[in-house]
Amino acid sequence: TSLEGHLAALRGGIGMNMREMNQVLEVNSDDMDVRAQAGVTRKQLNSYIRDTGLMFTVDPGADASLGGMASTRASGTNTVKYGGMRDNVLGITAVLANGEVMHTGSRARKSSTGYDLKNLLIGAEGTLGIITELNIRLVGQPAAVSSAVCEFATLADAVNCTMAVIQTGIPVARVELMDALSCAAVNKYSKMELKELPTLFFEFHGSQASVEEQAQQTGEIAESFGASGFKWSSDAQQRGKLWEARHHAYWAAIALRGLPNLRGMPTDAAVPISRLADCVIESDADLQEVTQRTGLVGPLVGHVGDGNFHYCLAIDVTNPDEIHEAKAFSQRLAERAIRMGGTCSGEHGVGYGKLKYLEMEHGAAAVGVMRSIKAAMDPHNILNPGKMGSPIE
C-alpha cells in the first residue's frame, strides 16, 4: 500500500487489488529462479520454496507482494549483501495501457539485447504498466548465520566502522544502526537495558567457519573505532536476543512520547555512505530544534550499509501544527540529502508526496525523458495518473 500516496486515486478511478493473482507458477531449482504472479507475497513465496534450499532475499519488513515490491523498487535490511528488487527480478510480464501483454527480461542470466524494459518497470509505481507476473532470482539458504551487536561513543564512529567493515571485504548480510534516542525508546517500551549510545547490529551469512570468522574480524574492526560491548553468536536463540532491540525499534518510537493515537511518519533519505555521518549530524541538529519547540521526537534507525536512514516521527494526525512541522522537517531532510549527492527516498518511493523533489534530484533533462516515456507508453494517462511521469497540470 506504500507510504507516499502511491495508490491515491487523485482523480477517482479504479483501484486494482492483485491479491488474488497469487499463484507460484514455476520453480526452477537448477536455474535458481521462480516464476510467480504479482499478488504472491514474499513470505508466501519463501514458504513455498522452503524445501528447495533456496530463498528470495528482499525483506522490507512487511509481508509485501512481489508486484508491489517491484513497482516501488523495494529493498530491505539485507540489501547490503543481496541487493534489492532491481537486482533480484529477472523478468516481468506487464499489461500495457493499450491492453498488450509485454514480456521483459530473460531467464538467461545475461543478455545484451534490447532496451532494458524490465528495469524501467521496476520502480515505475504502476505508471507504465500493470505487473502480472515476475521471474524472481533466488539464492541458497545460508548454511549458518551469526549476529553481533556493539555500541559506539559517537554516530560518526559507528558509520566509519561500517565503511571499514565493507571496505575490508567482509560480506556483511545486515548492518543496522540505532541511535541513542532509539535505544532509550526501546528501553522504555520493552523494558530492556541497552546502553543509550549509537548501536550497530550485524548479521553474517555463510558456512559455519565463515560466519565465525566474519564476526571476529568485524569485532576487531569495531574495537579500532572505539566500540564497546561487542557480543556475537551463531546460536539461533541468542541471535534473536541480540537483535531483539532492533525488531522493537519502530513500535518503541511510536510509544516514546507516551501519548495514545499517534501515527508513525518515517522519513527516508539515503546518501553516499561517506556523507552519512554528516547528513545525520545536521539532521539531528535540525530535529533537536524542532523537538525543543514542539515536543516532536524522531528516534533514528538506519540501513547504514546502504547509507539509508529513517527518523521514526510519531505525530498526532488530528493536530495540523504537528503535521506541518513534521512535513517541513521532512522537506528539509529531503533537500539536504539531495544536496549531499543522495536521494529523497531510498526505499519508500515517490507516490505524489515526493513528486516535487524529482527535478531537484534528477535534473530537468531526466525528468523530461521520464515524461516522454510515460507519454509514449500511456498516451491517455490512464495508469496511476497524477503520479510520476504525468504531464504537469
Binding site: 507460484v24 508466501q44 522452503r50 524445501d51 533456496l54 530463498m55 541458497g140 539461533a236
Partner: protein, 265 residues
C-alpha cells in the same frame, strides 16, 4: 594394533543408538484445500505437497540428538506413493542417514501404517522412534500410539522436550492441564508436538549430498502386512459456508440481538 582397529570399525552395540523417524507427504499447510466434485476426497492433483509439519519437527529432533552424539544413525520411513521418496530426500537433506520407502497407493489408515512401521522396527531394531503427533491431512493422532502398543514399548506423545541419558528418556508432554514429564526406558515411541523445536531449512549443499544417500524400497506385501482397512470413507464435504455477520448501531442493540437469539437471559 589390528584388534584395536577392529574395535574402531565395529563399535559395540551399547554405543549404537538408532532412531527411526516417520515422514508423511501431505498437502502443503499453506494450500487452501478443496474437495473433489464427487465428494470422495480432498483434491490433490496439481496441488503443492510437502512434508507434514509435525514430521519436520520429528526429523529435526532426531538430527539434534545425532548432533549431540546421542543417536548414531537415523532412518526416515515413509508410507506412500512414488513421490514420497521426495519427502524422504528432504529428511535426508536435514541430516537423516538413510531412508525406507514403503510404497503404497491410496489412503492408508494409521493402523496399517503402524503395522508397517512395526515390521520395519522388528528388522532395524531402533532404540527410539519419533513420529509427528498427527498428519495435517487425516488429523488422526493415532499412529504413534498404535505403534507403541504393537511393539509393547512405552510412549510419550505431544512431546515438547526430549532428553535421552544412559538408556532412559525423559519427555515433557503438553497436555490439557499443562505440562507432564514422563521417564521411561528405551526403546520408546515419541510423537512430536509443535513446540518441541523449530526445524532447520535444508540447504543446497545438503540437498545435493542427500541425493547420494540410500533409500530402500519395499511394500506391504514384502513386509507381510495387510494394508486393507475396516474403515471406508463414505463422503468428504467442505464445512458449511460461514454466514455473514451483522453490524448494529449501539450496545442496546447488541443486547437486544443477543436476547433475540436466546444467547443471554
Amino acid at each position: 594394533k589390528e584388534s584395536r582397529n577392529k574395535a574402531k570399525m565395529h563399535p559395540s552395540a551399547a554405543c549404537r543408538m538408532r532412531a527411526i523417524v516417520g515422514v508423511k507427504r501431505v498437502v502443503d499447510y499453506a494450500v487452501k484445500v478443496r474437495v473433489k466434485a464427487d465428494k470422495s476426497a480432498v483434491e490433490t492433483t496439481g496441488v503443492k505437497m510437502s512434508m507434514n509439519p509435525f514430521c519436520e519437527i520429528a526429523v529435526e529432533e532426531a538430527v539434534r540428538l545425532k548432533e549431540k552424539g546421542i543417536v548414531t544413525e537415523i532412518i526416515a520411513v515413509s508410507v506412500g506413493p512414488t513421490q514420497s521418496q521426495e519427502t524422504i530426500r528432504t529428511a535426508l537433506a536435514m541430516g537423516v542417514d538413510r531412508g525406507i520407502h514403503i510404497k503404497a497407493e491410496g489412503e492408508i489408515l494409521p493402523l496399517a501404517v503402524a503395522k508397517a512401521f512395526k515390521a520395519v522396527c522388528d528388522a532395524e531394531k531402533p532404540e527410539i522412534v519419533i513420529l509427528g503427533k498427527q498428519a495435517i491431512d487425516g488429523d488422526s493422532n493415532q499412529t504413534g500410539q498404535m505403534l507403541a502398543a504393537l511393539m509393547g514399548w512405552p510412549q510419550a506423545s505431544f512431546a515438547s522436550k526430549v532428553e535421552i541419558v544412559d538408556g532412559k528418556a525423559t519427555v515433557t508432554r503438553e497436555v490439557d492441564g499443562g505440562l507432564e514429564t514422563l521417564a521411561m526406558s528405551l526403546p520408546v515411541v515419541i510423537t512430536a508436538d509443535l513446540r518441541l523445536n523449530e526445524p532447520r531449512y535444508a540447504t543446497l549443499p545438503n540437498i545435493m549430498k542427500a541425493k547420494k544417500k540410500k533409500i530402500d524400497a519395499t511394500d506391504f506385501a514384502t513386509l507381510g502386512v495387510d494394508p486393507t482397512s475396516k474403515i471406508t470413507t463414505v463422503k468428504v464435504e467442505e464445512p458449511p459456508v460461514r454466514a455473514g455477520g451483522e453490524k448494529v448501531a449501539d450496545v442496546d442493540a447488541v443486547i437486544a440481538k443477543l436476547k433475540e437469539k436466546g444467547l443471554v437471559g
